[in-house]
């Protein structure tokens, strides 16, 4: 009875949390998008406003050059002065918190990062808006911990709810929101998490559609793939897209390293990147801001010449890498949509130019390219396929894009990694490539459960006397350290001691397994393979004996973690 009662409580509580987090996250996502839209208009970033100042070209010129620079300086000051994290926060931080069962960075840093992102995008930097929205959603979700609901893994579930609602609202795509939260953030599909995340995602959809009447983002007219062999071309496009995605992601990582080594103050770096955007935009207006006009043009035959496309793709890659690397706050997702769709359009132009094959027109290739470049960036093929479906509401287009997406992911996984987020986390020492269990075990240091109460001896002591000091049954070995504390070896009780006056130093043996302060549970388990002792010595970096770690404690930590994960992944309510 009590068990059923508690399940009912969990269901009700989680549903309430999902509704609450979903509503707030959805409203926050709408507010974020509207702020960006308003800034884009006010600062003449959006073409629709720029064209209305056609009579005064100097105003447009000044806006193009100054807005990204001023935005960059504001962002630099915000992040450096008001954020404890001193960097923009994004999806990698959410993944990290969710996978390692840790809290997000402090709420103030998160809020500052969100404001900085709105300024970045609003002032025309070449960065995306969805990463910040994901962070904002999780920030709202993480506030649910304060409710003290006593539900296992509530923190990760509530964060996932916020993320799902934000994506659902932003793309007007509830299924993609649901799947994104699982595929990227939670990385498991337990019913306990699935149900509330679905509720939150649906809430986001209701807010976007029913309350605010947001239109679908990217309707494309497409009547179907005309030739079977085109699916092979989609696969080929997927492979090409993987290479482009790899270049894009590597460029972002490289620019971060480059920026860190430049003699420019951290708060000035985004401004410098803004200058690069402004100057480039004078010649290539399509690179500034989110570029939703360019996104549409890419699906129209003849809107871009192949030469323009060949110029725009690298320009957008470099500018986005510079903006993100130099500290603008924002995501990598929206720019990858644009880079991808332009690449897809270029692919079609080359294909159609040679007239080797009959084809179904530019739209499907553009959309395939768009999703095939984006998918490896976020490391979520399923989400990407669903986003195509929900954005375009076109089944034929989705089936084509699906093929390109999986081939792109296959190749990109081999040549780069699961996603930009995962590679960024790996650079911070959190490796999720072999699964969350590995990552979580790798985060537990054996030093945390080392004991300092163990029998020890000095090398010049009499061995028998040393062994007598430890109570038989509990300890069968004595750990030897010299007067400086340096570890020397182990004397075992069951050793044959020929000479009863033998000194410790004469009969001690080297240790089979030695741990260091940074040894984690995963490494410990590997070292314990074939180990027959009870415990292993824990040494400092200068070989001093700090303590010992028992095999039983390591195994217990391992089992606890695995069980915790299993519970989380199989929880039903």
């Amino acid at each position: 009875m009590t068990h059923e009662g508690s399940a009912l409580y969990r269901i009700l509580a989680l549903t309430a949390v999902a509704l609450l987090v979903g509503t707030v996250a959805s409203l926050a996502a709408i507010a974020f998008a509207d702020t960006v839209f308003w800034l884009n208009n006010a600062l003449l970033i959006s073409p629709r406003m720029r064209v209305q100042f056609g009579g005064s070209p100097y105003i447009v010129l000044a806006a193009t050059l100054l807005a990204p620079v001023v935005g960059g300086i504001i962002v630099g000051l915000l992040i450096q002065k008001f954020s404890a994290a001193k960097r923009p926060l994004g999806p990698p931080d959410v993944i990290y918190a969710s996978q390692m069962r840790l809290p997000l960075p402090d709420a103030r840093s998160g809020t500052v990062s969100t404001i900085a992102a709105a300024v970045s995008i609003g002032f025309g930097a070449s960065v995306g808006q969805y990463g910040p929205m994901v962070y904002l959603g999780s920030l709202i979700g993480s506030a649910a911990i304060k409710l003290k609901l006593q539900i296992p893994s509530i923190s990760a579930i509530a964060m996932a709810c916020g993320v799902a609602a934000a994506i659902s609202t932003a793309f007007n795509a509830p299924i993609a929101g649901l799947v994104f939260a699982h595929e990227v953030i939670l990385r498991h599909y337990s019913l306990r998490a699935f149900a509330p995340v679905t509720v939150a995602s649906a809430t986001g959809y209701v807010m976007a559609n029913v309350m605010f009447d947001r239109p679908p983002l990217f309707l494309v007219e497409f009547s179907g793939v005309e030739n079977g062999y085109e699916f092979l071309l989609f696969a080929l496009l997927g492979i090409v897209a993987a290479l482009i995605a790899k270049i894009y992601m590597s460029a972002i990582l490289r620019c971060s390293r480059l920026a860190a080594n430049l003699p420019i103050a951290a708060w000035l770096r985004p401004g410098a990147a803004g200058l690069a955007v402004g100057v480039t935009a004078l010649w290539l207006p399509d690179v500034i801001g989110i570029g939703k006009e360019a996104l549409r043009f890419a699906t129209i035959e003849g809107a871009f010449t192949p030469a323009e496309l060949a110029l725009l793709v690298p320009a957008k890659i470099v500018l986005t890498a510079v903006c993100l690397g130099f500290g603008f706050a924002g995501g990598a997702f929206s720019p990858s949509l644009l880079i991808g769709i332009l690449s897809g359009a270029l692919f079609w132009n080359l294909l159609d130019g040679f007239q080797l094959f009959e084809n179904s027109g530019i739209a499907v290739y553009a959309v395939c390219g768009m999703m095939a470049v984006t998918s490896p960036v976020i490391g979520a093929p399923l989400t990407t396929i669903l986003i195509v479906f929900e954005l375009t509401r076109n089944y034929d287009l989705t089936v084509g894009a699906m093929v390109a997406v999986v081939f792109s992911n296959l190749v990109a996984y081999r040549i780069f990694g699961r996603s930009l987020f995962d590679v960024q986390l790996a650079a911070r020492g959190i490796d999720l490539s072999e699964g969350r269990d590995h990552a979580r075990l790798a985060a537990i240091r054996v030093a945390d459960f080392a004991t300092s109460e163990f029998p020890s001896a000095l090398p010049h002591e009499c061995a028998n006397a040393a062994l007598d000091r430890c109570s038989p049954g509990k300890w069968n070995e004595v750990y030897v350290a010299d007067s400086n504390g340096k570890f020397r070896g182990i004397v075992y009780r069951n050793q044959q001691i020929v000479n009863s006056d033998a000194l410790v130093s004469e009969i001690m043996q080297p240790a089979d397994v030695v741990f260091r302060e940074d040894t984690d549970v995963r490494q410990a388990m590997e070292k314990f393979v074939g180990f027959v002792g009870i415990a292993a010595p824990l040494l400092s970096s200068d070989d001093r004996l700090i303590g010992i770690v028992t095999e039983a404690d390591v195994i217990r930590a391992y089992l606890d973690t695995v069980e915790e994960l299993r519970d989380e992944e199989n929880a039903s309510a």
Binding site: M49, V51, K292, E293, R296, F297, A303
Partner: protein, 359 residues
């Protein structure tokens, strides 16, 4: 002394009303044709009956140059014009700035802001009705498959025949992008870029040799009726009058309709400011807007008027069905962005003239 000009067709019983005719005269400027006829019946005659003042009617073609050049000499007072033109004219100082929220009366317990459509009150004008710029076709030209999408307007192969258009970049650029497959909601965003304009004119190239230009707004239905054009761009109300009232073989393609806003504005140098305001108040009252919509299908700008629309007194047609914003019309609709229209007028005209010259 105010010059009063009575058109010969404007015969009113109310002419006999006692009035200090010379001082309290009012010049109302409108568009002529079926629209003006409807305004006479629905607004001007009842106004004269009620106030004893017989407004004289002048005609304009919608060009702002006429407002600049003629208004003072002809003593214009109240002008029926398009919202985007009113925005430009207001900025030029040609229209009287006034708060129309105070000018118009409240009905059915609704404050004017709640009753009128969003964005109805501008600095120098108030929205009175919604009209649609549409493509209509001569039924006789297409005995088989009829045009049903705006794409068909650009499809000379399947829908041959001359296209009648006003010599202006209005509406046709939007249609060109719709025909390329741009969603209605993004049309103005894309037309704001050089690339978008290039694409639109490239689409227009496809019908370049089949275009007949019309200059007077009533030419559109005449060209169709005479068989000189197979399709024409024009206003939904006039096409309705031609087909329903006069039996012309004209049908409307609702896809791609561009819904525009018609306003009342007062000339900046009017010497009848109070009278002009009284007239605008009367002309935008729900009863008058509903009467107008019963004669010619232009959607009233206020909700209270919608509920009062009945059948056309001649044909018995239920008029709500023919309004540009009637919910059952299929296909795509664009709401004209007046602000954008006003601010981009010279750019679009320059590009249009370049295109006319073949550049």
């Amino acid at each position: 002394m105010k010059k009063t000009l009575l058109l010969s067709s404007f015969v009113l019983a109310a002419c006999s009303a006692p009035a200090s005719f010379a001082e309290d005269s009012l010049v109302v400027v409108s568009w002529g044709g079926a629209y003006e006829d409807a305004q006479r019946t629905a607004i001007l005659e009842p106004y004269a009956g009620q106030s004893g003042i017989v407004p004289s009617i002048m005609r304009h073609s919608g060009s702002l140059n006429e407002l600049r050049d003629r208004a003072q000499a002809e003593s214009w007072d109240v002008i029926d014009m398009q919202r985007d033109h009113a925005i430009t004219a207001c900025e030029q100082g040609w229209l009287l700035e006034t708060d129309f929220r105070v000018v118009v009366s409240a009905y059915d317990g609704l404050q004017p802001e709640e009753d009128f459509v969003d964005g109805a009150f501008l600095d120098c004008s108030v929205v009175q009705n919604l009209y649609a710029t549409v493509v209509a076709y001569d039924d006789r030209a297409y005995p088989g498959v009829k045009p049903s999408r705006i794409n068909d307007f650009f499809d000379i192969e399947n829908f041959p025949g001359k296209r009648a258009l006003p010599k202006s970049p209005d509406a046709v650029l939007e249609w060109a992008l719709l025909a390329i497959g741009v969603p209605a909601i993004q049309v103005y965003d894309l037309l704001s870029t050089d690339r978008g304009l290039r694409l639109a004119f490239r689409k227009l190239d496809e019908i370049r040799d089949s275009i007949i230009w019309w200059t007077d707004v009533s030419d559109a239905e005449k060209l169709l009726q005479d068989g000189r054009a197979a399709m024409a761009s024009g206003f939904n109300g006039r096409f309705f009058s031609a087909s329903h009232d006069r039996g012309a073989p004209i049908s409307i393609v609702w896809d791609g309709r561009i819904i525009g806003y018609e306003v009342w504005a007062i000339y900046a140098k009017t010497d009848q400011e109070e009278l002009a305001k009284e007239f605008v108040d009367f002309a935008t009252s729900p009863a008058q807007l509903a009467r107008l919509a019963e004669i010619i299908p232009y959607g009233p700008a206020r909700n209270s008027a919608f509920l009062r629309i009945g059948k056309n007194s001649v044909s018995g047609t239920p008029m709500s069905d023919h309004l540009p914003n009637a919910p059952h019309h299929q296909g795509r609709a664009i709401f004209r962005d007046s602000e954008w229209y006003s601010k981009t007028a010279s750019l679009r005209l320059r590009r249009f003239e370049d295109w006319l010259e073949g550049n």
